[in-house]
């Protein structure tokens, strides 16, 4: 591959991995638990800003007229950890704001919160340098451990993002396939019923709000280390809908569906238009991105609300050992093959006596 193509491919791979982490985080909230987090992008922004502040020197170090709080110049991977924590921490007060709201009202409140956050950060120039934002955020290990050549460095970063995404995949899947995941889906379907069965719907939502926020923060940190700057225009509220469209198109509450949705919507639609000829006036095609994404969202909500890869139906065989080895069992090593489950009596046999 020539250097240009190689750079392009590795950039797309990076964007795919980073966005996928964010999409999984949002799907855990929206698809699995039924939280309409229309402010999701602010959690990604919190992660990006946190990563920036933690890896940059203090503002006066650069003598460039920038003004922002902190500047700790921590070594990799601490800024990334900080980004994850920042996303999760931001979820605490935000979940408090929306704890009493459900459905449409919650979505509205969060959407407004997203707008307020952008306005606030833009106006407070001392906080995160307002509309100028943070720039020259160092790429981790660039030129020290890893090569200073942009293309080969990018492949290393790609590998790192792929590794993180894989870890996130296993974590998210561990959650959705566990009994806790079942509680989450139950919360999505009926909170009153969940409460009537002795589970706190509020607690489950709270945990997932924080967990999803942390994943958004993580993806924000990974993203800002790649693009090295971060301004309020990078996290305007429509970005949340980009993630949401990826979820709806691919299939909510399905990790594989999320992969497909991210590929088609975030990478596909956005990148495909890059190769279209610029017609009428420059920038028109780019703006049409959003029109196409909006139409895709509407079309899927209307004609195929479950997405391309619908949520899996969890059948009885899943809970009865020995009947079927699922892919989960093979991957997670929890199959009945160990024999530990063989002791359970009377599985699969209708009981004649009433007990």
């Amino acid at each position: 591959m020539s250097g240009g193509i190689e750079f392009y491919v590795s950039s797309l791979t990076l964007l795919f991995g980073i966005n996928l982490i964010a999409v999984w985080g949002l799907d855990l909230q929206y698809g699995v638990t039924g939280i309409f987090n229309f402010a999701y992008i602010i959690f990604q922004a919190a992660g990006a800003y946190a990563d920036g502040i933690l890896s940059l020197h203090p503002a006066n170090f650069y003598q460039a007229g920038e003004t922002y709080v902190g500047g700790f110049h921590l070594p990799f991977p601490l800024p990334l950890l900080g980004a994850t924590v920042a996303g999760g921490l931001l979820a605490v007060p935000v979940s408090f704001i929306v704890r009493r709201l459900r459905g449409d009202y919650q979505a509205m409140a969060l959407l407004v919160l997203s707008l307020i956050a952008t306005a606030f950060v833009t106006a407070q120039t001392n906080f995160l340098d307002g509309s100028l934002g943070l720039s020259f955020i160092p790429k981790p290990l660039y030129g020290s451990v890893l090569p200073a050549s942009p293309v080969s460095y990018q492949w290393y970063y790609c590998a790192f993002v792929a590794f993180v995404a894989l870890m996130v995949f296993f974590m998210v899947r561990a959650i959705v396939t566990s009994p806790f995941g079942r509680v989450l889906r139950a919360v999505r379907d009926s909170e009153t019923a969940v409460a009537s069965l002795g589970r706190s719907a509020h607690r489950a939502r709270y945990i997932i709000f924080i967990f999803g926020g942390a994943l958004a923060g993580l993806s924000g940190g990974l993203f800002v280390q790649y693009i090295t700057s971060w301004t309020p225009t990078g996290w305007l509220y429509p970005e949340t809908f980009l993630f949401l469209t990826a979820i709806v198109v691919g299939g909510a509450a399905n990790l594989g569906g999320n992969v497909l949705g991210t590929l088609l919507v975030i990478i596909g639609i956005q990148e495909a238009t890059r190769f279209l000829p610029q017609v009428v006036y420059p920038g028109l095609i780019d703006s049409l991105d959003w029109v196409v994404i909006g139409l895709a969202l509407l079309a899927f909500l209307w004609f195929r609300p479950k997405g391309l890869v619908p949520e899996r139906r969890r059948t009885l065989a899943r809970f009865v050992p020995g009947q079927r080895r699922t892919a989960d069992d093979l991957l997670l090593g929890t199959a009945a093959a160990s024999g530990a489950l063989a002791e359970v009596p009377d599985i699969g046999q209708p009981r004649s006596d009433e007990s």
């Binding site: 566990s178 806790f180 079942r182 019923a193 409460a195 009537s196 589970r199 139906r313 809970f319 009981r351």
Partner: protein
């Protein structure tokens, strides 16, 4: 023997003489499991429950009857903690219920059914049942990452319990069906089965038989009676008086948000006020 107040005032609930019609044995004299005192619920200007007072003794099926709008479902909702504006006192097994969260009340061993079956519509029948089990440590976040083998084992135990319950009601073949696709009657049965998964101390049933075919009604009635004999206490809203007569040890009659009479159905049938409430309601 009983006076009824005009709407707005609180009529005293009188305990009618059982006249030998009540169940004999120790349950009659035991302390109530659930005791409701001066329960008031209003929604804005509408007084839905105006000072209801009654007891439910342990190991009995107590019927809750009354015309539409009498406040029966609101009483059940208030006991289950799903009404924020309730005042008065509701005590269960030594715990005060009013002011507690619904899930905290449920964790005391109270399970309820809803007037309109309230299921997890996108989940399968078996999943609906599994989540009906008592909360257990496999549902903690930590269990997502550690001890998977242990909770898998517990989960398959729960699944076999769910299967035997499904067998009992003859709906095993629906195990993999999505709850939202079930018929109205099947939804009610699923809701009841979901309650049974937790072996509750007390069940609050809001018209559990509505929309269920007569043959299955008998199966369910039989099951409820057996649960009662095993010690489960029930408060059941029901409009079918023959069913009430067949199942209930004692009956509470509500009208206009108040308890107007209490006792066995035979005695209540003679009570002019009860008859009027039903006819006028």
């Amino acid at each position: 023997m009983t006076t009824v107040g005009e709407s707005g005032t609180r009529p005293p609930a009188s305990r009618l003489d059982f006249g030998g019609a009540g169940r004999d044995g120790p349950t009659v004299t035991r302390d109530p499991l659930l005791s409701v005192r001066e329960l008031r619920v209003s929604f804005g200007g509408l007084v839905a429950v105006a000072g209801a007072t009654f007891d439910v003794r342990p190991g009995t099926i107590t019927g809750l009857i009354g015309p539409n709008g009498a406040g029966k479902s609101t009483v059940v909702n208030a006991i289950a903690g799903q009404v924020r504006t309730a005042s008065g006192r509701v005590s269960f097994d030594g715990h005060e219920l009013l002011g507690q969260k619904p899930h905290a009340i449920a964790s005391l061993g109270i399970r309820r059914s809803f007037q309109i079956a309230n299921l997890f519509d996108s989940m399968t029948v078996i999943e609906n049942l599994l989540i009906g089990a008592r909360p257990w440590d496999g549902e903690n976040v930590r269990a997502c990452f550690v001890g998977r083998r242990r909770w898998r084992r517990r989960e398959s135990e729960l699944a076999s319990k769910a299967m035997s319950i499904m067998d009992h009601f003859g709906v095993r073949k629906l195990a993999d069906e999505v709850a939202g696709n079930l018929s109205g009657g099947q939804k009610r049965i699923l809701e009841l089965m979901r309650i049974l998964m937790s072996d509750p101390k007390m069940m609050l049933l809001d018209e559990p038989m509505a929309g269920i075919n007569p043959v299955l009604v008998q199966t369910i009635a039989e099951h409820l009676r057996r649960l009662r004999d095993e010690g489960t206490t029930m408060l059941m809203i029901e409009h079918d008086l023959s069913l009430i007569e067949e199942l209930c040890d004692s009956v509470i009659v509500m009208a206009n948000g108040a308890v107007i009479a209490e006792g066995s159905l035979e005695v209540l049938r003679e009570n002019e006020m009860v008859v009027n409430a039903y006819l006028a309601g």
